[in-house]
Symmetry: C2
Subunit: 421 residues, 2 copies
């Protein structure tokens, strides 16, 4: 018996969605009205509001503030079953997904929304020393290192060791790197200041490293320069045009410079989920499926790939960025194309609509780029706050996030500073 | 150089407090005015409001709702340093505590408040199958098993396996066991009900096992019977006078009965922290130090043991129960006795004042025993809520706990249902 058959004799088409991130969740929601059996499979039980993951990594928010069970978010959708399972392989010839210890989930239509992991540019051995930030486990690991560094520094009598513990190197100048670098000074100068006796947490050193020539490469150049200036005012050291050449347990090499540090966090480079390769479709260098304009893969009109797992083109031929909006929009389009196929209609092409890009820089500052205009500073920050609360509104957590934020911002006290294993 | 010397030439007496639980935290707070260098050492970075740990274990509250960094709670106390370190041994002859990899922390006065772990009655091998509930890690492990059981049941096609996954056996009929058993039906019947498609979570089986003849042995007999009746109305099966005779990965034996279950949680029996034995003082069967009336140990008037780590007597000769009140009161008395010794005065005896006992049973029900009267039902529950918010008021988390609770109780939705590793 297959684990997706819900009742004997069901002849309804089976739609399987792999992944419960932005792409998968919004695809599943768009299938709400489908006369079909929809199955969402994820290796975790929760959908995650990834744009705020850096606040979990720095102990501002608790994991449950930005995550909700996928099955809970889809509970009113009676045509949809959620399974927590590890997907090992997709067999497009037989139209089955192999999960867990080899059980088979058959499908008539498939949406692959398995996202991406960080890429270490042919240095997978760096990952252990320089964790990335994609999942709750990642955020908890970074939080553990971030909080433990100050505990160890407080105990240490060795000046060099203390300095290495209190030096944070963030690799990657995109939004995640910028937001992570920008929030740390706020925490170390204010929230931590009164708590320690032997160290001055205000003297924490933060270095943001970017291989390219400017921060936030997806933003207009004026905002890149603004972000750099704002971060420098917060005391963050910025290294542009500086590729990382080595990472060890107690140092990072930036070009020819060797910086002693116990804390390297990775926010650079993406590689699509390895599951994508099992489709047998053409992939780009980052392992993303090179989808057709309707988001299906060549020769398999029943298989769609969306979000970070796909190489999707904009109307001008440039790539759709790996952000939440891209995943949400492509997830919806793939779902609607399946609805069209079920109705005997033609699929339609995906057109990405850029609603704008936002990144916060510490407390009360942000940069925002919208089609036609840009905003920076305090106004952009309020805009960022408003938009994030609006997007979080699909979840139960918005009130508790708002309170944590309010508390953090107005008292300089931080919320979720537990070191656990 | 010792890690507690803060400035060269300091001749102030050194007071070391081991443990940042109720005993240690309230001892440290009572030393606020001491002209001394106070050092609090804990292997974690946080104080925990343990009476609510069962709500973290069942995903109602997030870990950070009931925990706060010890150093943050003591941040305004300028004579106090907090160290996160593992204490390996106490050398009372040399008056040093050995921490981490053998570093020495010297003391003039010592308060041992290291609490207790669960006791498995000479079956330590049961611990892996039947986790207890003392720390955030414990709660997270139980939460992981609790949430995963339903995920696995939803995937399973094997009727017997499903039944074993949906059977929860709680060992121990004290407050923790009663509260854990009472909250599960509420969650499985309401919060989970709409989320699953293939299982009926309302049919979850909950068995509460107590070796003694009644639940809540520290409470008056009428409340024990009331708790039993209330739990049975919630569908909990109660086995009194039923010692557990074996625990395996997929069963528990209660007397001669073997129950197939994947979920055994342990809330029975305490054993004092093994550190207590390194004091060389007499200990009772549970490993607790047999302290003198002023809470010091024989021959060492400078060493005090408090809370769960000590066998403390009431005025009538009976033992002080291992509850928060006992730890708080004894911690304060030990601290005040040190202040007296510093002032050249005599120490005073500890007199436990029983402020009352409370246990909740599911939603809106509780039993409460106060000197002279008892209360049960809804009134007791409001009393419980009021008292817990009052006690949590020392922390930043009270508002967020109140919101989580309010949200949970009025919408039947649960807060922190993330399965993470």
């Amino acid at each position: 018996m297959s684990i997706t058959q819900r009742s004997t004799g069901s002849a309804r088409p089976r739609i399987v969605v792999l992944g419960g991130g932005f792409g998968g969740l919004y695809a599943a929601r768009a299938l709400r009205t489908a006369v079909a059996d929809v199955t969402v499979i994820d290796r975790t039980n929760h959908h995650l509001f990834q744009p705020l993951l850096y606040q979990v990594a720095t102990a501002v928010l608790a994991p449950s503030d930005i995550g909700s069970p996928i099955r809970h978010l889809l509970r009113t959708q009676r045509n949809t079953t959620v399974l927590m399972a590890e997907v090992g392989e997709i067999d497009v010839a037989r139209r089955v997904v192999l999960v867990d210890d080899g059980r088979e989930v058959p499908y008539d239509y498939l949406i692959v929304a398995t996202g991406s992991r960080h890429s270490y540019f042919n240095h997978p051995e760096w990952e252990a020393m320089a964790p990335g930030l994609k999942s709750i486990e990642d955020a908890r690991l970074i939080r553990h290192r971030f909080l433990s560094a100050f505990e160890l520094a407080e105990k240490s009598d060795d000046v060099a060791e203390r300095a290495a513990l209190m030096t944070f190197v963030i690799v990657g100048g995109g939004p995640t790197g910028v937001e992570l670098a920008g929030i740390i000074p706020d925490i170390t100068r204010h929230s931590f200041a009164a708590d320690f006796r032997r160290i001055d947490t205000g003297r924490t050193r933060i270095i943001l490293v970017e291989a390219g020539s400017r921060l936030l490469p997806a933003f207009p150049d004026t905002l890149s320069r603004r972000a750099k200036r704002d971060l420098e005012e917060l005391g963050v050291e910025i290294r542009l045009g500086s590729p990382v050449t080595n990472v060890t347990a107690d140092s990072v090499s930036i070009g020819d410079e060797r910086v002693a540090t116990k804390n390297v966090f990775w926010a650079a480079g993406n590689a699509a989920s390895p599951l994508v390769r099992t489709l047998g479709a053409p992939v780009d260098r980052a392992g993303r499926a090179q989808v057709l304009s309707d988001l299906s893969i060549p020769d398999h009109p029943e298989v769609f790939v969306v979000g970070d797992a796909a190489e999707m083109k904009r109307d001008d031929g440039s790539l759709v960025p790996g952000v939440a909006q891209g995943a949400i929009q492509s997830g919806r389009v793939a779902a609607k194309n399946i609805l069209r196929l079920l109705a005997g209609e033609q699929t339609q092409a995906f057109h990405y609509f850029n609603k704008g890009d936002l990144a916060t820089i510490g407390r009360y500052k942000a940069v925002a780029s919208f089609p036609g205009f840009t905003v920076a500073g305090r106004l952009a920050w309020w805009f960022w706050l408003f938009l994030h609360i609006l997007y979080l509104a699909g979840f139960r957590n918005r009130l508790s996030v708002l309170i944590e934020w309010g508390y953090s911002y107005f008292t300089y006290q931080r919320g979720a500073r537990l070191i656990t294993n």
